[in-house]
């Protein structure tokens, strides 16, 4: 019994990830703001989205599957929250059951397991009736499967069987066990047999159920005998108690899995609310096949800016379908980095099955997104910094596949421009030739010019521009690179606005 809200039943589990590169992605794209908005104060939700967002889905179908579930969630917010809190309550109540000082002790393990499973039984019963009530309000395959699971697997009959096991395992009328002889004639392979089967007839009452047998009694004053007897009893019920404890673990694991799935969608709902409040355009992206190398957006806005400042965030239009490389050049502080981040986050959200902050987005799936940003905060010697940059790039190229996407932000700038350009050119061309999609922000004219000379068939050039007055619009336009970055603008702005400098 598996919750299937995130992926199809039987989908392959998430692969193991390189934590360091994921952390770089989170830092470079400023994803913590996004996670905070999704968590909305719930640490569990934050943990789940932190793990799931960088772990991109890999096919168009998988993305559509989640989008459908998310649409259902948006339509039935209160039911989804009720489901989530149902699972959470159950697990919280479990946590409160006293674990006892001797958790390894069989008798305390038995009573705890009976109690915990009692709580779970109640919780599962509630979840099932909720599922029955809500079944017709949901349209997605994901919720359909989950609700079917509840109604089929948690039938009245099944819940009744559970209840019976819990009652029997209270072991009120003694225990019936069997054993074989071990190597040293000690008892081994103990089994517990059905406690409290049915009411025994008078003959069984006299003989204990079997035709031949011998009985003895432990003397009331024989304390060590009583202890030995309870040890024997413990050994006899041990296997069944472990089965019971394992069962409690299983149901616990199921509830945790369900809570995890629902936490993801609750995070999406929270984010949806926050972005709607910020006045963002929200749409479900159209996932495209990888070979199309599609990336086309209208009014694409940066989520981080939206969450921070709300209104006044400028959107961009991009059309780069069929070209693996996007080069962004132009004025300093002209919105290049913001634009790069908005592309990265949009791709990431799309790949997780979320809506995006754009009027529309149509993008090919990739298997993983990497970021390679210049590390401004490193106050090292230039050469050490360049070393470090190349080491990170080496890590990325070790983890990336042909289906990946890499975002470069002012990379290779830790050395002189001609050297940096040369290396960058080789890296970018190698990546693109391998099939990797690359977004690259650079002020190195030598690089962009060299790429431009090779023809624009494989490259989309975008430029952060200024209008005739020298004011930045923060809007990018398609256009070939120009020789100077607009550092002098910045210089002029700072000095002119403060009056003539002395």
């Amino acid at each position: 019994m598996k919750s299937c809200l995130l992926n199809h039943q039987g989908a392959s589990p998430a692969r193991r990830r390189d934590g360091e590169l994921d952390q770089e992605l989170v830092d470079d794209l400023g994803l913590d703001d996004l996670f905070d908005a999704m968590a909305s104060g719930d640490e569990f939700i934050r943990g789940v989205v932190r793990q799931l967002l960088p772990d991109s889905l890999r096919t168009v179908d998988q993305i559509r599957y989640r989008q459908a579930v998310l649409r259902d969630c948006l339509q039935n917010q209160s039911t989804v929250r009720e489901l989530y809190h149902g699972a959470v309550d159950c697990l919280n109540r479990e946590k409160q059951v006293w674990r006892g000082l001797f958790t390894k002790h069989i008798e305390s393990m038995r009573s705890r397991s009976v109690e915990v499973l009692g709580i779970f039984l109640e919780g599962l019963t509630n979840l099932r009736s909720l599922a029955e009530r809500a079944r017709h309000d949901f349209e997605s395959d994901g919720f359909g499967e989950l609700f079917d699971l509840f109604t089929q697997e948690l039938s009245d009959e099944y819940l009744d069987t559970m209840r019976k096991h819990l009652r029997r395992m209270e072991l009120r009328s003694g225990v019936q066990l069997s054993a074989a002889l071990g190597d040293e004639n000690q008892g081994r392979a103990y089994r517990l047999h059905m406690p409290e089967k049915q009411k025994p007839g008078w003959w069984e009452r006299v003989t204990g159920g079997s035709a031949t047998g011998y009985t003895f009694k432990i003397d009331e004053r024989d304390e060590s005998g009583a202890r030995a007897l309870s040890e024997l009893r413990a050994r006899g019920i041990e296997n069944a108690v472990h089965a019971l404890a394992e069962s409690a673990d299983h149901v616990h694991d199921f509830l945790v899995a369900l809570r995890t799935d629902l936490a993801f969608y609750l995070g999406c709902l929270n984010l949806h609310t926050a972005l709607t409040d910020a006045g963002a355009p929200l749409s479900f992206p159209v996932p495209r096949q990888r070979a199309e190398l599609a990336f086309a957006a209208r009014d694409l806005r940066d989520v981080v800016l939206l969450l921070r400042s709300g209104s006044g965030v400028v959107g961009n239009d991009v059309e780069s379908s069929g070209r693996p490389l996007v080069i962004v050049t132009g004025a300093n502080q002209g919105g290049k980095s913001t634009f790069l981040r908005s592309c990265g986050i949009a791709q990431l959200m799309a790949q997780a099955g979320l809506f995006v902050t754009a009027e529309s987005l149509s993008s090919s799936v990739c298997d993983r997104i990497f970021t390679h940003y210049r590390r401004e905060e490193d106050d090292e010697m230039e050469s050490g910094k360049f070393d470090e940059e190349l080491r990170r790039l080496r890590n990325i190229t070790e983890s990336a596949t042909a289906a990946s996407m890499v975002l470069f932000n002012e990379s290779f700038a830790a050395t002189n421009e001609s050297e940096g350009s040369e290396i960058a050119l080789e890296v970018l061309e190698a990546l693109c030739a391998a099939g990797v999609r690359v977004f690259c922000v650079t002020h190195m004219y030598a690089l962009s010019a060299a790429l431009a000379r090779r023809g624009t068939g494989a490259v989309t050039f975008l430029r952060a521009d200024r209008d005739a007055d020298g004011n930045r619009s923060f809007r990018l336009v398609a256009g070939a690179p120009r020789p100077t970055s607009h550092g002098q603008d910045l210089y002029r702005m700072i000095f002119d606005s403060a009056g003539r400098s002395p």
């Binding site: 054993a179 002889l181 004639n185 003895f216 007897l229 089965a243 069962s247 149901v251």
Partner: protein, 526 residues
């Protein structure tokens, strides 16, 4: 309880054994000494034997290591067996498996003795017999299919073939199997309610734990962990369990009767030759185990050519095995040296700076001869040694330092007794003779002693600070411990055949600190 059938007979000469892996003639096993030879401590061989035998106390291996052989046939017999165990992986693995099986047999018998409940004693005894049968059968089958060449291992294979077909072994194995099956078929029920316990037969009742598992299995996620039931092995029964076991025996009398009968009929099931082999073969195993880390560290061992006629001695790149053991454990380098006695050379006189490895060299000489006489691999890349009749050591003993006169007397008495007993076939190791008297006296007495040795014709190593002793004619040869000319503070522990030259070490040290004649003069005059 009965006597442990594996307890070796008090008498070491294993009279009833069909063969011995240590002696070509199983009937001619000499009595082995109970105490270390007098020279053991001087040569540090006591440490080696203690270390070697430490893991095998039950086999009482030390006596084997205390008896150097004088018969080249015995040495050759052992060298062939050891060579095969050392170089051919299969027989050696099989022997290790076999001795492990025998250890487990002893373990079971030990448990049988320790148990209080009769049925448990009998069960442990049965397991011992089963392991014994299994061990013997596997070992026999394995070595039979191998091509062994040493006559020791060939005799073993022949013996095992005969023994496995013997009536005693066949019926032991068969009966043990029958009893085992009968016991394994038993399953019984226990009903516990309050203080009342009822034991009855098992009627195919289903396992309730399995039913619970089935019911809840559907919730299991991918990474669900299974809780393991404790194994109840190795526990002695408490009195309630004993009472239950008594009733089980009452419910199923037949298997328990079989068990009882098996115990009394096969009380001494371990064959004497098998048991003796198990003990003797540890002589080789323990030694190979001991030298293994030394070889790992790059040190070499070889089978020496042994001779009872010529007294030429050669040992290339040899070393002190006791010291090497310690150094290797501490990850330190072991220095190897060459030993040579040619033609009429009989007496090796070692001089040189203190702590330069002189005594180590003397020990090495004796150890190589001693280990060779045991039929073992000796330290070195190649070796030719003489099979001695007796070995004597004369080392300084720290006690009585206050009483110098008494000490000199003691030294001379010990020397006298050596000279009285030693023959031309003996080896004598003299370490720092007569240090408790004046140099002139020591030189004179030392010369006297060595001349007697030369006359006797024995092999001798003499560590001394008196250079003259190395110049007593063709029988003596000088070896000097050398120093590193670059940095004399570093001890090389290298010894070379070279005339004793007195003060090379001191000169080198002086040079290093700029304290030579010329340099002092130069400095003072400046």
């Amino acid at each position: 309880m009965r006597a442990n059938p594996l307890q070796p007979a008090a008498e070491d000469s294993s009279t009833g054994c069909a063969f011995s892996i240590l002696y070509p003639d199983a009937g001619a096993v000499p009595p082995l000494p109970d105490e270390d030879p007098a020279y053991f401590a001087d040569l540090n061989l006591d440490q080696v034997v203690e270390e070697l035998t430490a893991g095998y106390a039950e086999h009482r291996l030390a006596p084997f290591f205390r008896h150097p052989e004088q018969d080249p046939a015995v040495v050759g017999y052992r060298q062939a067996v050891l060579h095969e165990l050392d170089t051919v992986p299969e027989p050696s693995d099989q022997v290790w498996n076999f001795v492990a099986a025998m250890r487990s047999v002893r373990g079971c018998l030990g448990r049988a003795r320790d148990m209080h409940c009769r049925y448990q004693q009998q069960a442990c005894f049965l397991r011992a017999a089963q392991r014994y049968c299994q061990g013997v059968r596997q070992f026999g089958a394995a070595v039979e299919s191998m091509r062994v060449t040493s006559s020791g291992l060939r005799s073993l294979v022949d013996f095992l073939t005969r023994y496995r077909a013997s009536k005693a072994f066949v019926s032991l194995e068969q009966r043990a199997g029958e009893v085992d099956q009968a016991l394994a078929a038993i399953r019984y029920c226990v009903h516990i309610k309050g203080s009342r316990v009822r034991v009855s037969g098992y009627g195919d009742e289903p396992d309730y734990g399995a039913e619970i598992r089935r019911t809840f299995q559907k919730f299991a996620q991918e990474k669900a962990a299974e809780r393991r039931t404790r194994r109840s092995d190795g526990l002695e029964l408490n009195h309630v369990e004993m009472a239950v076991l008594e009733l089980v025996a009452k419910l199923y009398p037949e298997p328990f009767a079989l068990l009882e009968r098996f115990n009394s009929e096969f009380a001494d099931f371990v064959d004497e030759t098998i048991s003796s082999f198990d003990r003797e073969v540890h002589f080789y195993l323990a030694y190979l185990e001991f030298i293994d880390p030394l070889r790992q560290a790059g040190l070499r061992f070889c089978f020496p050519v042994v001779s009872t006629s010529g007294k030429e001695v050669e040992a290339g790149q040899t070393f002190d095995i006791a010291l090497a053991h310690k150094l290797t454990q501490a990850n330190k380098t072991v220095v190897c040296n060459d030993l040579r006695l040619h033609d009429r050379e009989r007496i090796l006189v070692i001089t040189g700076p203190n702590q330069g490895g002189k005594t180590t060299m003397a020990r090495t000489f004796a150890q190589v001869h001693y280990l060779a006489a045991l039929g073992l691999l000796v330290p070195g890349s190649e070796a030719r040694v003489y099979l001695f009749d007796q070995l004597f050591t004369h080392f300084e003993h720290g006690e009585n330092l206050g009483d110098l006169r008494g000490k000199l007397q003691d030294d001379l008495l010990r020397m006298r007794s050596i000279l009285d007993t030693a023959t031309d076939r003996s080896i004598v190791i003299l370490n720092e003779l007569f240090t408790s008297t004046s140099m002139a006296d020591a030189s004179e007495m030392g010369t006297e002693i060595l001349l007697r040795m030369i006359e006797l014709g024995c092999l001798c190593v003499c560590v001394t600070f008196i250079d003259e002793l190395s110049r007593l004619g063709k029988a003596t040869v000088s070896m000097v411990s050398v120093v590193d000319p670059e940095d004399p503070a570093i001890r090389t522990y290298q010894l070379v055949r070279r005339p004793a030259d007195g003060h090379s070490y001191a000169e080198a040290i002086a040079e290093k600190y700029g304290l030579t004649y010329d340099r002092i003069k130069e400095r003072v005059l400046r």
